[in-house]
Subunit: 360 residues, 2 copies
């Protein structure tokens, strides 16, 4: 492991076989990289576009070592792979982003502590685990507040909206006694995210800020440009860059933020140490896609341009929404994406559509 | 085989595993299609992005039948697969484009006869096989002229520039006694090509005309728009559309033409019943890529928009040209493509670069 650059034509390992891994593999293929994808689920959509696959659990050390030895660099498409898995892979090959980014972002408490120490503000929060600790936290944070498990939450899972200190029982039914945090509710007008890339040598490039609308805790639409001032846009990019530098991050990460239009305040909600749903618009809507940018960063190639090519809207297709392809395929400004998943169960991310309005 | 449409998520078979099959598979994946690629060469670059591969000869009937039965529609990335292979596949699944397109375009004599009968003019030509027939053909065609084998020629292989009737011996050394044609040389100022798509229901969409520069019979650069008048641009598209309709073609095909600026004459040089090197610019330079358009056509989805997004230049990277990636990756207007081939031998198509100048 003397040279940091992985030349085009090399092999990239991806932990995780969902749509993010799939789109990473497709971007890698543009540069001639072969992808080896490791995922426990044999029906992983990323397998359809991979050169090589390993179907094994993330705890299978033998399979992980063989995987790590077969690639020139490894990355991951989701932040909930066990830290031990990451460490094992990192012992045999480059793991980008590294173990630290995973450890920090896998735990909401560590993440918030880290961000605030790095000068990136979050909503107020306090850790708890037991009913007594919850009540003590509630006394500090007040209401409204959200209880969240520290680990393994996504799309609103493991969360509970707290209204009273008497909610302790209901909260613990959701957290199941696992370490959790109580987070103060901040008043905000809009949710935004910044997709930022950082190279091994410390070059940083942020995409234009996107504005996100969630429905039932799942991303519904992303719009670019966000309806924010230039000052807020610049400030959001500074915060994302600060977080990436503080983590000595390598690759693409997403920073979700809340914006208060009146005060101009921005608080960071959370970091995803990976390509992100709110960056899918970049495939057709930016000079470089977030997937290509991640490949460039982890292979130590020059980062690409990040400018948007117009006004962009990205909409997720959940469950049976995927079946109505016709109207998108007939729309000259629409780019339809289908992730190749067979079962369109309710709420499942099956695909997305991006509209690029270059004339507006 | 009652429904003509293959819905997103279905399976597409591709005969041939080169860079064209690779880019077809990547386009198919955007719509959730799985690709099964059939190719005798186990090092095929298209295999890197395929869901399933079959390594077998094109004469292996058992393998071909199994392949055909495993897919919802089959297509091919090159025109020299045996007609018997195509017929066998077509007996079990949709083959698009069909057997007729292959039969016509595999043989230069049939192709030229067909085109001229369809109102699409070519240079003058005459068939020959023996030395006597060559001399008789030369007496009609005159000089300069080019002798070409009727079948299996590409990138200038199987061709001989004729200067005299006494060249008979040299010509037969190249044609090796195989059926051939002697083609008259037409005076032209530029080479252009039209990439045109036709759907099963007869919808036709042509991309903007591209201007091509060949070096040593291999495409070097493609530029859009071509330096031709609107009248010539329109006429070229009419000719390509006429050829596609006459063939009852389904899919994307390329029509190469010679243009005489002074007279405004266009003659068709040849047809490629497949996606084409002179259409690679469409990946980033057009609203829909030729690869996505081919997938749309063979799956009977609506054809996509074909407008160019600016002034475009595509350059092939041959042999060791592929190794200088850095300068392309640093150029904000350049899109670098590497086909994943390991051996950069001289003249081999290893990748390409497309520059999209949206501001000019």
């Amino acid at each position: 492991m003397t040279k940091s650059r992985i030349e085009p034509g090399g092999t990239i390992g991806i932990l995780g076989g969902g749509q993010l891994g799939r789109m990473l593999a497709m971007a890698a293929a543009k540069f001639g990289y072969r992808c080896h994808i490791f995922c426990p689920d044999e029906r992983s959509p990323a397998f359809h576009v991979a050169d090589r696959v390993t179907v094994a659990e993330y705890t299978n050390e033998e399979a992980l070592l063989a995987f790590a030895r077969s690639v020139d660099v490894a990355t991951y498409e989701f932040e909930n792979i066990p830290a031990e898995t990451a460490k094992l892979v990192a012992s045999e090959t480059y793991l980008r982003p590294g173990v630290r980014a995973l450890e920090v972002t896998q735990d909401r408490l560590h993440e918030k502590d880290f961000l605030n120490k790095s000068g990136v503000h979050t909503a107020p929060y306090k850790a708890f685990q037991t009913a007594e600790e919850f009540e003590a936290a509630f006394a500090v944070i007040g209401r409204p507040a959200v209880a969240k498990t520290r680990r393994f939450g996504y799309d609103g899972k493991g969360q509970y909206m707290v209204k009273s200190r008497r909610d302790a029982e209901a909260v613990l039914a959701v957290t199941k006694g696992a370490p959790a945090i109580l987070e103060g509710f901040v008043k905000f007008d809009r949710e935004i995210s910044v997709i930022v890339a950082r190279s091994p040598s410390g070059d940083v490039a942020a995409f234009p800020v996107s504005e996100n609308i969630h429905t039932n805790h799942i991303l519904d639409t992303t719009t670019i440009p966000a309806d924010i001032s230039d000052t807020i846009e610049a400030k959001a990019k500074v915060l994302a860059t600060r977080a990436a530098n503080a983590l000595e991050y390598v690759g693409v990460m997403a920073v979700e933020m809340f914006v208060n239009d009146g005060s101009g305040d921005i608080v960071v909600n959370e970091i995803a140490p990976r390509v992100h749903n709110s960056g899918h618009w970049t495939i057709e809507g930016a000079a470089t896609s977030q997937f290509e940018q991640h490949i460039r960063a982890i292979c130590d190639l020059p980062l690409g341009e990040t400018n948007a090519l117009g006004k962009i809207v990205m909409k997720n297709l959940l469950g049976k929404d995927i079946l109505g392809a016709e109207k998108y395929l007939e729309d000259p400004k629409a780019h339809y994406h289908h992730y190749g998943k067979q079962d369109p169960r309710e709420g499942r991310k099956m695909g997305h559509v991006t509209w690029v309005n270059t004339e507006e």
